[in-house]
Amino acid sequence: MEWLIFGFLSLWLLVSVFGTLFLKNPVHVILAFLSVILAIAGIFLHLGAELLAGLQLIIYAVAIIVFYVLVITTIPWEKVKKFEGIYKREALMAVPFLLISFLPIAYMVLKGKFAVSQKVITEGNIQSVGKALFTNYLFPFEVASVILLTAMIGAILLGRKEE
């Protein structure tokens, strides 16, 4: 049963990834990406990270995709057309390296021993995540908000028109 879900979700993911990589039209690429996000959210749910799945959907599928679409619409179509597609040469160059990097890691992962789980999760996922977030990792949490602030300022600065 698990493997079935796994297979379905993985297949969805794979197809979307191929779409992201090889589609020409940027709008199509963004749509494919959206599909990837959804697939990943599904995987999160399968893995029992409910909070994260929800957050993924909210942040990625809503905020980030909207960002991309917004930017795409500011660019005139003709200009975008020139830069569609991929670099063939670089693709050929990179494939062997990718393979070289994937295979050993995969090998290590398969052959390696992982640590055995120590804790027993009694509460629900959201509770435990929330608890960890607000007690152990409070500082990074605050820092994350500062990052967001900085990014906002940066984006505004970058985006304004030069008068």
Partner: protein
């Protein structure tokens, strides 16, 4: 093989695909999309590790990464807009020179 291990393999694949996309994409926007793909792959890996080992640290970290990804998209897209305004194009081949 456990499910989590398979998911780890998937995550590695996702990461490398994102990297591949960064290498081959001409359009800046689609390049940034591939970057997001990489981040997602890492998130996936973290969460599946989390499931294997127990504890919630992985998910917390993935949460932070999510936040940072959002910020980074904002900034990156701001850059793309600025480039478009300057050059009129948005191809990565247009920004090869440091100066004219």
């Amino acid at each position: 093989m456990k499910i989590e291990v398979a998911y780890i393999l998937i995550s590695i694949f996702l990461f490398l695909s994102g990297l591949f996309g960064v290498i081959i994409r001409k359009n800046l926007i689609t390049l940034l999309v591939s970057t997001e793909l990489m981040l997602n792959g890492v998130n996936l890996g973290l969460v599946s590790m989390d499931k294997m080992v127990g504890g919630v640290e992985g998910q917390v970290f993935a949460l932070f990464m999510l936040t940072v990804a959002a910020a980074e998209v904002a900034v990156g897209l701001g850059l793309v807009v600025a480039i478009f305004r300057l050059r009129g194009y948005e191809g990565s081949s247009e920004i090869t020179q440091l100066r004219d």
